[in-house]
């Protein structure tokens, strides 16, 4: 009985931390869906967002004003990225764009730290990380808060894309960029907006992760947590990002607890990748990706 309870506790903890992965992964999906780019700089964006917010807030700018200012900066950054990086590389193979975002991540990381310094900032969102008990299972209230925030984000994104003009345009571009171009949708503007939107996701994710890990350079490494999630869920599916995140979170924690001791621990650095790889070998297009026959 106790074993079962412990198992559930580990599972729930894993699922909740998986939500944090999903949150990062969603930022990738937004960009991938519209521009076919696997944006490695998403982690750097997250660092930039969190660092900007914390630094503003520490300098006495009120909470919401800091959020607003950070969003403005993110929008500028998004537009700039579209103008300077994406536009000249349009029509290049996806892997070239991927490498470009790798370079971009260096620029953003360097820039963020040059601007705000390299010290570690604490971030208190006012949520105590005290565990509470539900039916004998301990749950972290912070994890729960993060999960709720993630759910809210997903709901907002869904509403945005279903009901606003820009959202509809976004979906048109995601379905078929050429057709969208033909009917006069301005791709470049949509890209800029999408990069901004993923910046917003990065801010939310950055605040949650920052509250947990401290706002510092290593924050940009959460990108490495999101990649296996994306591989599992498919790069172009928000639902996939969520379920992939939950899966990775749960298997990772379970493996850490039940397999880790036999391997000397610390396996979470690679376990998700191996799971994702094993899964890919069975289903090369991920959980939700469509199976396409390559046109010849």
């Amino acid at each position: 009985m106790e074993d079962v309870q412990f198992f559930i506790e580990v599972l729930v903890g894993g699922l909740l931390s998986g939500v944090m992965y999903s949150l990062v992964a969603i930022g990738f999906v937004l960009i991938y869906k519209t521009s076919g780019v696997l944006n490695f700089a998403q982690g750097a964006l997250l660092l930039f967002a969190a660092l900007t917010f914390v630094s503003l807030h520490e300098r006495g700018v009120p909470f919401w004003a800091s959020i607003g200012l950070t969003l403005v900066l993110l929008a500028i950054l998004g537009t700039l990225i579209e103008r300077v990086v994406l536009r000249p590389l349009v029509n290049q193979p996806p892997i070239t764009l991927f490498l470009a975002t790798l370079g971009l991540s260096y620029v953003i990381e360097g820039g963020a730290q040059l601007l705000w310094g390299t010290q570690v900032h604490g971030l208190d969102l006012g949520i105590d990380d005290v565990p509470f008990e539900v039916g004998g299972v301990l749950i972290s209230s912070f994890d729960l808060f993060a999960a709720a925030t993630a759910a809210l984000m997903v709901a907002l994104i869904t509403l945005f894309f279903r009901y606003t003009r820009i959202g509809l345009a976004f979906r048109a571009v995601a379905d078929d960029p050429f057709a969208a171009l033909a009917v006069g949708l301005r791709l470049t503007r949509i890209w800029a907006i999408v990069w901004t939107a993923s910046g917003v996701v990065a801010l939310v994710a950055g605040l949650l992760w920052g509250a947990r890990l401290g706002v510092q350079f290593s924050l940009s490494l959460v990108v490495l947590k999101a990649l296996p999630v994306l591989v599992l869920g498919g790069f172009d599916s928000i639902a996939g990002a969520i379920i992939g995140g939950l899966l990775v979170g749960a298997t990772e924690k379970l493996a850490e607890v039940y397999i880790g001791p036999f391997l000397g621990g610390g396996i979470e650095s690679w376990f998700a990748y191996v799971v994702a790889l094993a899964f890919l070998l069975v289903r090369p297009s991920g959980l939700f990706g469509q199976k396409l026959v390559e046109r010849v």
């Binding site: 696997l38 300077v84 990086v85 000249p88 590389l89 290049q92 193979p93 996806p94 892997i95 070239t96 991927f98 490498l99 470009a100 790798l102 370079g103 971009l104 991540s105 260096y106 620029v107 953003i108 990381e109 360097g110 820039g111 730290q113 040059l114 310094g117 390299t118 490495l224 990649l227 296996p228 994306l230 591989v231 391997l263 000397g264 621990g265 610390g266 396996i267 650095s269 690679w270 990748y273 191996v274 994702a276 790889l277 890919l280 070998l281 090369p284 390559e294 010849v296």
Partner: protein, 347 residues
């Protein structure tokens, strides 16, 4: 390494001759002139790491530049090479050091083969992401299992001196020459490979996998071969990095940043170019030194090392983007064009 570009028989004879002469001149300078004029600082801080990184770049370029399989796990294969050489040397003391190096390369090739298996099903960044598995797994395994570092409590082990027969290369110049010899041989073999049918198979798989398959290129075998050969070379580069440059063997130096660094070397230097690996490595090694010196000159003592490091990150990242946009063939192509202009030859 300057290398003639055209394989044609009659037309390229002068060019091949020029290429051959250039290579001979560079080798002469590297083997004879530099050792008699260079300072220890030059060998220890610049040339030896340059050689190790250039060799790693050659290895990665075979895989990524020629065969089109992007890898983000190069440092892992360097680590495998370094630790394998250490253990062969430690556990089979009667083994000549050069044999240990070859065995280390073969070990890296074997591990590379395993982590290359996903390339049979995955392409593009799916594959790139999966190579991260190699990066993290290898680093974890080397840190976790004390056996690899002979249960050394700090995990940092001193590398034994480099030795061929009874000659020990334990001065700065000696370690440089040792590296230079190995790099020269492996680079020559890699260059031969790229010029042969196997190299053409690499490019065919990269440029059009379907057409390659239809023609009868064994696509799967070609990809695995690319992983194996590339990992072999990168593994030996890891041996040089640990034994000739750092003179310690530890997993920490072979992290993801190192993998990216090697990828950046071939992007900046030029994809699918042996010469590019050397140009890129030269740039990556020299550029930070220049930048910090420049920072020191311009701003005096007021800049701290953090600022310099961040500026480096920004500039390197920006250069990656710039090269991808403006000159995807990298420094190698810039150099070729400059040489052509100097030679006054028409396009």
């Amino acid at each position: 390494m300057s290398i003639s570009v055209t394989p044609s028989i009659e037309r390229s004879l002068p060019r091949a001759a020029i290429g051959g002469l250039t290579v001979a001149a560079i080798l002469f300078i590297a083997f004879v002139v530099l050792p008699s004029v260079g300072s220890d600082y030059l060998f220890e801080a610049i040339l030896t790491p340059f050689l190790a990184l250039a060799l790693a770049g050659v290895g990665l370029n075979l895989l990524t530049g020629y065969a089109g399989q992007v890898s983000l796990g190069s440092a892992a294969f360097m680590a495998v090479g370094a630790f394998a050489a250490y253990n062969f040397n430690l556990r089979v003391p009667e083994l000549p050091f050069l044999v240990s190096i070859v065995l280390a390369g073969l070990t890296a090739a074997g591990i590379g083969l395993i982590f290359g298996l996903p390339s049979l099903r995955l392409r593009g960044f799916y594959l790139a992401v999966s190579t991260l598995a190699a990066q993290f797994f290898v680093q974890w395994a080397l840190t976790k299992f004390g056996w690899f570092s002979n249960d050394n409590p700090s995990g940092i082990i001193n590398a034994p001196p480099l030795k061929i027969a009874s000659v020990t290369f334990d001065t700065a110049v000696g370690r440089y020459l040792f590296s230079l010899g190995i790099v020269t041989v492996l680079t020559f073999l890699a260059w031969r490979l790229t010029r042969a049918q196997t190299g053409r198979n690499f490019i065919a798989v990269r440029d059009n996998q379907t057409a390659a398959r239809v023609i009868g290129v064994p696509v799967l075998r070609t990809k695995l071969l690319a992983f194996a050969v590339s990992s072999f070379i990168i593994g030996v580069a890891g041996v040089l990095w640990a034994f000739a440059y750092l003179r310690t063997v530890e997993p920490a130096g072979f992290n993801l940043d190192r993998s990216f660094q090697i990828l950046f070397i071939i992007i900046i230097g030029g994809l699918a170019s042996i010469r590019g690996a050397f140009l890129g490595a030269g740039f990556i090694v020299v550029f930070p030194l220049l930048l910090s010196r420049l920072g020191g000159e311009l701003l005096g003592g007021i800049v701290d090392s953090g600022v310099v490091e961040m500026s480096q990150r920004i500039v390197i990242g920006a250069l990656i983007i710039l090269f991808l946009i403006a000159e995807p063939k990298g420094l190698a192509e810039l150099g070729r064009r400059a040489a052509r202009r100097l030679g006054g030859r028409p396009t």
